[in-house]
C-alpha cells in the first residue's frame, strides 16, 4: 500500500470522486472528498436528499468503485484489498437488510456465519441484540411481516452482530418512532463507550448529529461544505429561533425595536444562542414595558437553518427549484 497509510487513522480518503453516467447524462454524486477519521471518532454526515451521502458510504464499504481518488479504510485500500475492508467493517445500508421470507432470528444467525463467527457465539450475540433492540416479540416472524421501524431495528442488529471496530450506518434512525430512536442513540453511545467502535453515520437530522457526534460534516451537491464540531457549527448558525406573537402590529414593531430580529405583522422572530434562557426573560421584560406576548414558540435549528447559514439557500427553495 503506497498511499500514506497513517496507522492512527481509521478512514482516510483523498480526492474521492464518483460520477454516474446514465443515458448521456452525468451526475457528479461525490466530488473530491477528503476525509480523515481517527479511531473511536463518531462522525455524522449531514446533508439533504441526493447530496452524495450514500454514494460516499458505498465507496468506502467497497460496494462502488470510485471514479477517481483513493481511500484506506481500517488499514486496507478500498481498491486493492476490498476483501480486507469487508472483513473489518460493519455496514447498515439505507434499504432493508433482512431477506423478506427469512425469520428475524434466522437472519441474525446467518449473518453471524457470514462473518465467520462460531455457532454458539452467534446465538448468544443474536439473543443479546434481540433483547437490547427490543425485537423479542418479532424474533420468530418473517421480516416481510414487520413494521418499517421493526425492520430498521433488524437492519441495525445485522450490522452489529460481529462487533466490527468500524461501523457505517446509512440513515439508521429513518422510520423509527421517538422511543426507538432514543433507544438507538443510547445503543450507539453505549457501543462507543464500551468498545471504542468508530462510527460513521449519515442523517438528515441536525438534532441527531448534535446528540451523537462531536464531529459533523455537512455535504451538499457531492461536496463537503463544513467539517466541524457540532457546537461550533451551531455557533455559526446563531443558535435557536424564538417567535413571539403580539396583540397588534404596533406592539410587535415596538418589541422588534427592543430585541432586534425580524418583524412580520403582529409577530417577531429573533435568533439567539440560547432560547430556553432568553424566552422567559424577554417575556418578563416586554410585559414590564407594557407589551403583552400572546403566544411564544422556540425551536432548535434544523438542517434547513444549517443550510441557510452555510449556503445562503434554503432547502425549501431548492426543492421548489428542482420541481420547477
Amino acid at each position: 500500500m503506497d498511499i500514506e497509510t497513517d496507522t492512527n487513522r481509521m478512514i482516510t480518503a483523498r480526492r474521492l470522486t464518483k460520477t454516474f453516467r446514465a443515458k448521456g447524462r452525468t451526475v457528479d454524486a461525490v466530488t473530491d472528498l477528503d476525509l480523515s477519521v481517527a479511531p473511536g471518532e463518531l462522525v455524522a454526515f449531514l446533508g439533504p436528499n441526493g447530496a452524495g451521502k450514500s454514494t460516499t458510504l458505498r465507496m468506502l464499504t467497497t460496494l462502488l468503485p470510485p471514479t477517481s481518488g483513493d481511500a484506506v479504510v481500517a488499514g486496507c485500500d478500498i481498491r486493492r484489498d476490498p476483501a480486507g475492508v469487508r472483513s473489518r467493517i460493519g455496514y447498515v445500508g439505507q434499504g432493508t437488510s433482512g431477506g423478506h421470507t427469512q425469520r428475524v432470528r434466522d437472519e441474525l444467525h446467518a449473518q453471524g456465519a457470514f462473518s465467520g463467527m462460531g455457532r454458539r457465539e452467534t446465538r448468544a450475540r443474536a439473543d443479546e441484540l434481540i433483547d437490547s433492540l427490543e425485537l423479542g416479540q418479532v424474533a420468530n416472524r418473517q421480516v416481510q411481516s414487520l413494521s418499517g421501524g421493526q425492520k430498521r431495528r433488524v437492519d441495525i442488529a445485522l450490522g452489529l452482530i460481529h462487533r466490527p471496530s468500524l461501523l457505517f450506518l446509512d440513515e439508521p434512525s429513518t422510520g423509527l418512532d421517538p422511543h426507538s430512536r432514543a433507544n438507538l442513540w443510547e445503543h450507539i453511545v453505549d457501543l462507543r463507550r464500551t468498545t471504542g467502535t468508530t462510527i460513521f453515520l449519515t442523517t438528515h437530522y441536525l438534532d441527531e448529529a448534535d446528540q451523537l457526534a462531536e464531529r459533523v460534516m455537512v455535504m451538499d451537491h457531492g461536496r463537503v461544505i463544513a467539517d466541524d464540531t457540532a457546537a461550533a457549527l451551531k455557533q455559526r448558525l446563531a443558535g435557536d429561533r424564538v417567535t413571539l406573537e403580539f396583540g397588534s402590529a404596533t406592539d410587535a414593531a415596538a418589541a422588534a425595536a427592543r430585541l432586534g430580529g425580524d418583524h412580520d405583522g403582529s409577530s417577531i422572530s429573533v435568533a439567539t444562542p440560547d432560547g430556553d434562557v432568553a424566552l422567559p426573560r424577554w417575556i418578563r421584560d416586554l410585559d414590564a414595558a407594557g407589551l403583552e406576548v400572546v403566544a411564544a414558540t422556540h425551536r432548535a435549528p434544523t438542517l434547513d437553518d444549517v443550510f441557510l447559514a452555510l449556503t445562503g439557500r434554503s432547502l425549501r427553495e431548492e426543492g421548489a427549484a428542482a420541481a420547477a
Binding site: G40, E41, L63, A83, T96, A113, G116, H162, E186
Partner: protein
Amino acid sequence: MNTVTTSAPVPTEFAAPAASVARPTGFVHDTVAVFARESRPLVRDPFSVVFSLVQPLVFLGLFGPLLIGASGGDAAGTLQWFVPGILVMVALFGTASTGANLLFEMQTGSHERTLVAPLSRAALLVGRALKDVVPLVIQGTLVVLVSVPFGFRLDVPGLAVGLLVLAVFGVGLGALSYTLALACRNRDWMFWMVHQTLLFPLMILSGMLLPLDEGPAWMQVAAAVNPLSYLVDAERVLLAGGFGDPSIVGGVIAAAITCALGLVLGVRAMRRAR
C-alpha cells in the same frame, strides 16, 4: 427511561482499538453458510414446496388423460412416457424463476448486505444454486409417488439417478437465472421478458408434453439443439430402469454443460455485482 442525556464525549482516552477482523473462512464454509441461509425459509415452511407442486400436478391431471386418449394405448404406458417429462418440467419451472428472489433482494438491500459481508463471491452464487436442488428433489419424488397408483412403474435406482441428473441440470439453470437477475438489476420486466420468451419454446421444443416426431422438420432441428430434449429422453430411459441406453449419455452431457455454463457465468456476474 430512554432519553439520551449524554452528548458523546470526545473519546481521546481510547487506545486505538485493535481492529477486529472477521475470522478467515473459505469457499466451502461460505457456500455452506449461504446454502443454510437460503434453505431456512424452506425448513420453516415446508408447505411452500408442496404448494409449488400444484402446477405440475395440474399438467399431470389434465394433460395425462388427454394423452392417454389420444395415444389409444394403455394408461400405464402413457404415464411411463409422460411422467419423466413432468419431472423435467418441475426442474425447469422451479429453477428458471429462482433469480426473481435475488432480484427482489437486490432491490430491498439484503443482497447489498451479503456483498459487504466477508463472503466469497463465488460462494454467494454456488450456495444459492445448490439450494434450488432441495425443492426439486422433493417435488420430483412426490410427482412420481402420486403417479404410482395410476399405473406408473417405479424403478428406485432409476429414479435416484434420474433425480441426480436433474439436480445437476437444476444447479446450472438456477445459476443462469441468477446471472440473468444480476444482469437485469432493477429492471424486473426484462427478467420476466427473457424468462417467458425462453421458457415455453424450450419446453415445447423438448418433446416434454407432446412427441415431436409428427412435427415439421424445423421443429426436429430445434429439438436437436435443445439440451432439454436430451434430458427428457434420458429421464424416460432412466425412470424405466434402463441403464444401458446410450441416450442417457446425451442427457448427462446436456446437464453437465448447463451446470458448467451456469456456474461459470453466474460466478463471473456475482464477482462483478455491486
